[in-house]
Amino acid sequence: MNDAVERHPHDVLVVGAGGAGLRAAIEASERGASVGLVCKSLLGKAHTVMAEGGVAAALAHVAAEDSWQVHFRDTMIGGKLLNNPRMAELHAREAPDRVRELERWGAVFDRTADGRILQRPFGGHTHPRLAHVGDRTGLEMIRTLQDKAVASGIDVYMECTITHLLTQPDRVAGAFGYWRATGRPVVFPAKSIVLATGGIGRAYEVSSNSWEYSGDGHALACLAGAELIDMEFVQFHPTGMVWPPGVRGILVTEAVRGEGGILRNRDGERFMWKYLPDDRRQEYAATDEEAARWVDAQSAARSTDARRPPELSTRDNVARAIYTEVRKGRGSPHGGVFLDISYLPADHVRRKLPSMYEQFKELADVDITAGPMEVGPTTHYIMGGIRVDAETGATTRRGVFAAGEVAGGMHGANRLGGNSLSDLLVFGQRTGAAAAAAAAAETEFRHIDPVQVRLAERELSAPFDRPGAESPYRLHEELRATMQSLVGIFRTEADLDEAIARIGALRARWANVGVSGGRPYNPGWDLVFEVRNMLVVSEAIARSAQQRRESRGAHSRLDFTGLDPAWARLNSVVRQSGDLIEVTTAPLPDVPAELQRLITMERTDA
């Protein structure tokens, strides 16, 4: 029967059309591969479009003393040294070329006074480093890449969801999915598959992430036998909207703080002064006056000897600080804190932060040029992901590559703002090249196992035979509540036990999930497989969080506060074993001596 299933063979199949997927597809195509690009939404709608603040690259246009070495150091320190050092090095070295390349493809970044690409400061970055377009950098990036991809003749399969990877004992041979508009199944035989499916935020109640972020690539890889690493490291962005309820979680870009936004609690206290870690305190301003001088210089895009404001501490630290202030009863009326940029000229704020101005005006009736915003932490990004080779993006399963947020290792225990967009470009390019080279070395397509196709088809149809059974919406809601309350910013052994038990029960109920209606464009049916993926990912997160008995970066344990040297050189590793998700550790790759020197070097400019 499955002979009738539509087939589209490609040398390289890219799953996901955000920044990483598009960049990989372009590279593979330019290297002569036949490329198929599958995305479950329309082209150009991927989560990258929501990125706001900028793309980090040591172009040294604003601070001449910036260099890849300083960028590397900032990234490692921000990641609490848990980053794959080779990935962090490649990223810092290659990001400037990848950004310049976007400009050659038509991107129009904001400009310095002398007409070059402008760069803005962000948390954890020593120098102003983020190339940007107001606060809609992601849109500019995705449009540029989309136009380039379309012009290169890549085959794009829009609104097509991949639900299964088709395997051979030694490798992956293709992918199985369905067209959302018709519900018809489709098979993509492929010599190389690049997973670029982004993150997992929809497993949480409060999230800045879009509909697509259901951990599809993480789960597909894990179910096909590839390893995940560092899944306990989920980034809670310090500033999401908290009011009104309908908009809770929507991102408030870090650029607000990069442009001088000040965080205050209910009592008007600038509380970030209290939360700067002692070993980094010397990198931040000592007084309000010094921070104000820094903002003045920043607004005029000139350099200064003033150090950056305390609000530009790393995201993990600012998120914990806000959470703690609210917990101690010093929050704003709707359970957040105040973020104020209204002391700067209104015109300047509107020009630098146009989307934020609109967003608050239209969705919350707040004029950010006239008063403060209310903000609180929101699930934003996962540092962990599929275990990859630094140079090529190859996963531990032959034939499968991964790039972008779905890949792990680059950001360690905490990602710096702006390093995601550069990650997409650097490793999208590398992975596209490696996937094309691997495909070129294969003389023919591997056999697609008809039994696997039939089983996948059966799994796809099964929920229609169980109308009135478990609702996928209900399962999703319960999972989100579990992750939000038990696997959030602060974790404990008892909470994680409880979370793992609940996730296990939800997995059992998932086997009995049912949908009503037909196959064409049925969102309840879409959700069935997304919930499957979110359950895999959630269990991986909870089990990894339980295993790591220390607090590091974005992973904070109330029962194991502080860094534990025994964990400093260990990645968590997750793999599927039968029906179980198994968690172990693996030693971090060694840091070569010359890179180690960069990490320990002192700031020479402060």
Binding site: G44, V49, F109, R111, A181, G246
Partner: protein, 262 residues
Amino acid sequence: MPEAHLRVFRGSSESDGMLVDYEVPVEEGMVVLDALHWLQAHEAPDLAVRWNCKAAKCGSCGAEVNGRPRLTCKTRLSDFADDEAITVEPMRAFPLIRDLVTDVSWNYEVNRSIPPFQPPADRPQEEWRWQQEDVERVQEFRKCIECFLCQDVCHVLRNHETERPFMGPRFLVRAAGLEMHPIDTADRSAHLKDEGGIGLCNITKCCTEVCPEHIKITDNAIIPLKERVADRYYDPIQMLWRKIRGSRADGDPAAVDGGEAT
């Protein structure tokens, strides 16, 4: 808890489709898309809605709310009177797939036909210097989130007023972003005139009114492009004169295309 009264189009073709009435509990700050999500979770699990970001950044959730093309993620329930029914229908300019989802693939075909960005071969990137005020004009066009509401409202496309091709406001904006790019060297005049059908736009500005990004589509994108095409194809002497004077003369762009408008 107060309730909103929604009337939502359900069906997979115009003929068998109908408006179905629903009551949805209202929380403060709720938008139409929230109400549709509530319906999916409680009343209509198969209600087809296209959406991604729910933050007005991706442009996926366009629909006609009480007859007006809008992003449902940006349309607040509090914009309507308590006793007013909120009617949500799919964009009418595109073929229906199901419920609120339409087939917008035509737009992607049009996009592919536009000659791409072409930087100069003889000027190395190291020498590129653009001032902020020069790029801001292009950045306005590059703000477009491709929600296709402008395509939906455009009467030329909506009412299928012509057999001749017309790219529609979205792609005139895209073309303007390329044409006015500081260093683009491609010439899209022929494309705009023929395949693009720019002459078919008669400047009713409906597109500008519905743009959620507030792009001045007609004034800043379409009219300057019409002038370029007119200069190129209809008035070479004036084009030469403008070149010599180094400025743009005032003209009535509508008149240039008057003979072509339907």
